[in-house]
C-alpha cells in the first residue's frame, strides 16, 4: 500500500509544470580560488560557454548560440551516454570576465536542485594572478513540504559545493597556486 504514493510522487516530479515549483528557501553558495596565472589566461580557458572541458566531471559539451545571450549547452557527465545537464546563458561580459547561466533541465537524481542559476567570474589579484569565483543560487531538489533527506536543503548545498570544488580544484592544478 505504501508503494503507490511513491510511484505517484515520482511521476509528479517529472511533470513539466511541477519543474517550476520549488522549496521555501533559496540557497546561495560562493566558492573561490586564487591562482597564479593572469586573468586573461584563465578567461581564455573558462570564458567560453560552449567549452566546459576544464571541469573534470564534464565528458562532453554540445550547444548552440556561441556566447550570445540565450545560448544553450548540454553537458554530458562522466562518460558517453552519461547523465546530462541542459543550461542556458543569460549574461555574458567578456570585458568584466563574467558569465551567468541557469539550468533548464536536470534530473534531481543527478543534481538535487531546482531553479538553479550560476555565475562564473575572474578578477585580478594584487599579485597579478586571478581570483576565480563560482556562485550559485538554487532551491532544493524536492519542491514540496517535508523533503526526504537526499533532496533537502543540505543535500542541495552539498551537491553544488562538490561540483564547484571539483572545478576550482582542477583550475588551481592547471594555473598554479
Amino acid at each position: 500500500m505504501r508503494r503507490l504514493p511513491t510511484i505517484l510522487l515520482t511521476f509528479l516530479l517529472f511533470l513539466p509544470a511541477i519543474a517550476f515549483a520549488h522549496g521555501p528557501t533559496r540557497q546561495k553558495l560562493s566558492l573561490a580560488v586564487d591562482v597564479k596565472a593572469a586573468p586573461a589566461e584563465v578567461w581564455a580557458v573558462i570564458g567560453n560557454f560552449q567549452d566546459m572541458s576544464w571541469h573534470p566531471a564534464v565528458f562532453k559539451s554540445t550547444g548552440t548560440g556561441d556566447n550570445a545571450i540565450d545560448a544553450t549547452r548540454v553537458l554530458t557527465l562522466g562518460k558517453e551516454g552519461g547523465p546530462t545537464i541542459s543550461e542556458q546563458l543569460y549574461k555574458y561580459d567578456a570585458t568584466k570576465m563574467t558569465y551567468s547561466y541557469r539550468i533548464t533541465e536536470v534530473d534531481v537524481a543527478v543534481l538535487p536542485v531546482t531553479n538553479y542559476s550560476s555565475h562564473l567570474t575572474v578578477t585580478p589579484t594584487a599579485s597579478g594572478g586571478s581570483h576565480i569565483e563560482w556562485r550559485g543560487a538554487f532551491y532544493r531538489g524536492y519542491p514540496n513540504n517535508d523533503p526526504p533527506e537526499n533532496l533537502n536543503d543540505a543535500a542541495a548545498i552539498a551537491a553544488v559545493t562538490a561540483v564547484y570544488k571539483a572545478g576550482l580544484d582542477a583550475l588551481e592544478a592547471k594555473f598554479g597556486k
Binding site: A17, F20, T25, Y90, R135, A137
Partner: protein, 324 residues
C-alpha cells in the same frame, strides 16, 4: 526631537502640514529588511543610509509587513513556519505563532486588524488577528499563492496564485471570493498602484499584468526584464525588480510603455516606495545590499549593507521612528 505621529488625527494634520511645507523635515524613512540566510532583520535608516539595528528572526524569514497604524511589523519564516509580531518602536518580539504548510507572503489590513498569510503548499490564505495572531479563517486560492496585498482603500485583498497563473481577488471585509483572473505565467509578487489597480509580476512570461479588482478585467501588460519579482509605484510609474537581470524595469503605469532600466545589486527581490514617493528601496538577495533609487531621476543614490540574503518580500518601509 523628531516629531512622531501618535494618532490618526495628528497624522492627517501632519500630512496637511507636509503638503503645505513641501519637502518633509524631521521625518525619516526606515526599512525593515528580512535577511533569509542570516535569519535576522535589518532596520535601516534611509536618511543616514545605514543599518541602525539587527534583530534576530529565527527560521529564515522572507515575508515582511510593516504597519505604522498598528505600531508593529510582522515576519514570516518559511523554514520554521513561524509568524511573528514585533513592536515597531522597540523592535521587540511580542507574539509568535507556528503554522503548518508553507507560509510565505504576508499583508496587513490595519483597518480590520487582520493579517493575511499565503500558504505556498496548500492553495490557501490564513486570516489571523493582528493582535494575538490567532487564526480566524482560511481562504481558498489557486495553486501556490505567494504575494498578497490589500488595496489602498481597504476594499480588496489580492493574491498571486503562482502555479495557477492567476490572481484571486477577495472582498477584504466579507472575505468572499470576487474574481479569479488569468494573468501572465507564474505570478509571484503583486502590488496595488495608488489608484487602486493591482499588478502581478509574472516570473514565467517576463511581464507585469494590470488588473481592475472591481471588474476583474485585465487592463494592460508591461514587458519586464528576466524573472520579475516585486513591484512598487511612484509618480505614475511602476518599478519592477528583475531577479535574473540584476536590474529594475521602470514602466509608465498609464501606457505600460518602458521608461528605463536601472542596474541594481545581484538578485533584486523586495521593492517598496517611501511615504513621500520620492525614493524606491530594493533588497538585493545575492549582494546583501539595499539599493536606493531616486524615483524621478531614476538614479541609484545609495547602497546600504544588510544581513545575508535580504528578501524583504512585502511592504517593508515606514516613516515611524525606531529606537536605536
Amino acid at each position: 526631537m523628531r516629531w512622531k505621529p501618535s494618532s490618526a488625527n495628528r497624522t492627517v494634520l501632519f500630512c496637511l502640514l507636509a503638503a503645505l511645507l513641501g519637502p518633509r523635515e524631521g521625518v525619516a524613512d526606515y526599512a525593515y529588511v528580512t535577511n533569509q540566510s542570516s535569519s535576522d532583520l535589518s532596520v535601516i535608516d534611509l536618511e543616514r543610509m545605514k543599518e541602525i539595528r539587527r534583530i534576530p528572526v529565527p527560521g529564515m524569514p522572507a515575508g515582511v509587513a510593516v504597519s505604522q497604524k498598528l505600531g508593529a511589523f510582522f515576519t514570516v519564516s518559511p523554514d520554521s513556519k513561524t509568524i511573528r509580531r514585533f513592536g515597531l518602536a522597540d523592535a521587540n518580539p511580542q507574539v509568535e505563532r507556528q503554522l503548518d504548510g508553507g507560509p510565505i507572503g504576508i499583508a496587513v489590513d490595519d483597518r480590520r486588524r487582520r493579517i493575511f498569510v499565503s500558504d505556498w503548499y496548500n492553495a490557501r490564505v490564513w486570516v489571523l488577528a493582528a493582535d494575538d495572531l490567532s487564526l480566524t479563517a482560511t481562504l481558498n486560492t489557486g495553486s501556490a499563492p505567494a504575494g498578497l496585498a490589500i488595496s489602498p482603500d481597504g476594499r480588496w485583498l489580492a493574491t498571486a496564485d503562482r502555479d495557477s497563473h492567476q490572481m484571486s481577488i477577495f472582498d477584504a471585509d466579507t472575505l468572499a471570493l470576487r474574481h479569479r483572473i488569468t494573468v501572465g505565467e507564474r505570478p509571484f509578487g503583486l502590488a496595488f498602484a495608488p489608484d487602486g489597480r493591482v499588478f502581478s509580476a509574472d516570473v514565467g512570461s517576463n511581464t507585469v499584468t494590470a488588473v481592475d479588482p472591481e471588474s476583474g478585467r485585465v487592463l494592460g501588460r508591461a514587458k519586464t526584464g528576466e524573472r520579475p519579482y516585486g513591484i512598487a509605484f511612484a509618480t505614475d510609474r511602476g518599478f519592477v525588480t528583475n531577479q535574473y537581470g540584476d536590474s529594475v524595469t521602470v514602466f509608465d503605469a498609464r501606457t505600460y510603455a518602458e521608461v528605463g532600466v536601472i542596474d541594481v545589486g545581484g538578485y533584486p527581490e523586495g521593492i517598496d516606495t517611501t511615504a513621500d514617493g520620492a525614493r524606491i528601496a530594493v533588497a538585493n538577495w545575492d549582494t546583501n545590499t539595499l539599493s536606493i533609487i531616486d524615483a524621478k531621476s531614476l538614479e541609484v543614490v545609495g547602497e546600504i549593507a544588510t544581513g545575508d540574503g535580504p528578501r524583504a518580500f512585502g511592504l517593508f518601509l515606514t516613516t515611524d521612528m525606531p529606537k536605536e
